[in-house]
């Protein structure tokens, strides 16, 4: 995997794909490899689930479940389909989404606690360190109107439902749905080109 940008320092980056061998050793029930994998990735995965769950006790539970699942499913990781980190983050994010939808759908979305939403939004277009896959996705995201891009990104980073996006952006739910479908179709076609 190529790392672009000026910030590819000597700190072992979670973006680097030396995580893949740790995952394959985890398939062989190598507890030391799994422990290293945890050390290298827990802050990243916690960042992913905490942004969605916004409550540290819930996020800590979900993170534990995510790693149990990573242990169970390590054999399903396919390096041809993306990086090890992306695969692990997808598992963690899915667990967080299950939790945020099924437990207290309204309260978790409406009352983020723990940080200032406005100050914390992530702008991937400003990311200095980019894998090849991220660089392509960013190019495609640039093709979306600013508001539509913001909706997709807020959905991804915060796990907001259509209803929550509708409240946040002051647009009717059907409009959000139509925009999401158009934006996602545009991203799919752009990534396929």
């Amino acid at each position: 995997m190529t790392i672009r940008g000026e910030a590819s320092g000597d700190r072992p980056s979670a973006v680097g794909d030396d995580l893949a061998p740790l995952l394959s050793r985890t398939v062989g029930r190598d507890a030391a490899a799994f422990s290293t994998l945890y050390k290298r990735t827990n802050a990243k995965l916690y960042g992913v689930v905490f942004r969605i769950l916004t409550k540290s006790d819930v996020a800590a539970d979900v993170l534990q479940e995510a790693y149990v699942r990573i242990w169970d499913k390590a054999g399903e990781f396919d390096p041809r389909k993306g990086s090890a980190l992306a695969w692990m983050a997808t598992i963690a994010r899915n667990r967080a989404l299950d939790e945020v939808r099924r437990v207290r759908p309204a309260s978790l979305e409406d009352q983020p606690e723990g940080f200032e939403p406005a100050a914390e939004e992530i702008d991937p277009l400003a990311a200095r360190e980019r894998s090849e896959g991220l660089a392509r996705l960013i190019e495609c995201l640039k093709g979306l109107d600013e508001e539509k891009r913001a909706i997709v990104l807020l959905a991804y980073y915060r796990g907001l439902s259509r209803e929550a996006l509708s409240r946040r952006f002051g647009r009717p739910v059907p409009t959000i749905k139509t925009w999401l479908h158009r934006s996602l179709a545009q991203l799919r076609d752009c990534l396929a080109s």
Partner: protein, 235 residues
């Protein structure tokens, strides 16, 4: 890709996370039985996954690894309990065979009821669902008899964690929030479906969560389902 455009959008929204609780549960159940849909969801997850690189790291509260290690220790690698699935498939086949045999006998003995039998076959009154996390895990078998408005839930090699119970939920957009069908543990248990629209009972998603012994204190699932599935008719 062989899914319809609508299903591809549903897969995209599932991966992005914008579906509401019941849409998400429905899709989670469907992907277990529809490999094309499952592939579509995975393709969307892969498209969006690079964004995870841009999420700033946050240190979790305390060292969670000992708890994780304790949970995975001694866990066998997945994939070997396929015998469960085979047993379940056999059980579903047995159900079907029994139901077919019963209706044949009825048709032979009571020729005058042939017309009624035909209606029975076109609108089956018995349904079965195998609730599973994935194809190789232990499972929960749910059977529904619409005539008696009764549901029976039976764990197959599944056992709740010590000091916990399973709670069964029926999930459908028409019901709004998930509705509890009761608490159970290792043994099978019956529950009444009276008051529920038969159409909803047939189309709903069934899910099982791990709860305190008396069931969820809030009346809503207190965690993600550990088993999920939908009913299929027993002909």
């Amino acid at each position: 890709m062989t899914v319809s455009p609508d299903d591809d959008f549903a897969a995209a929204e599932y991966a992005l996370g914008t579906l509401d609780a019941s849409e998400r549960a429905t899709l989670a159940a469907r992907r277990l039985r529809e490999p094309d849909l499952d592939q579509a969801i995975k393709a969307w997850e892969a498209r969006l996954a690079p964004l995870a690189e841009t999420v700033p790291e946050i240190a979790p509260p305390g060292d969670l690894f000992p708890a994780i290690e304790a949970r995975v220790r001694g866990r066998a690698p997945e994939a070997q309990p396929t015998s469960t699935v085979v047993a379940l498939e056999r059980s579903v086949r047995r159900w079907r065979a029994a139901a077919i045999a019963a209706s044949l006998v009825a048709a032979l003995l009571v020729v005058g009821f042939a017309a009624r039998e035909a209606t029975r076959r076109s609108a089956p009154h018995e349904y079965v669902a195998i609730l599973q996390k994935d194809a190789a895990s232990p499972a929960i078998e749910v059977t529904v008899n619409l005539d008696r408005q009764e549901l029976t839930v039976r764990p197959v090699l599944a056992q709740p964690p010590q000091g916990k119970a399973y709670e069964l939920w029926i999930i459908d957009p028409k019901l709004g929030a998930p509705r509890s069908l009761g608490v159970f543990s290792e043994t099978s248990r019956a529950a009444s479906l009276s008051g529920l629209d038969p159409a909803v009972v047939q189309s709903a998603t069934y899910a099982v969560t791990v709860e305190p012994p008396g069931g969820s204190p809030t009346g809503q699932p207190s965690g993600a389902p550990v088993f999920v599935g939908k009913l299929i008719p027993v002909p």
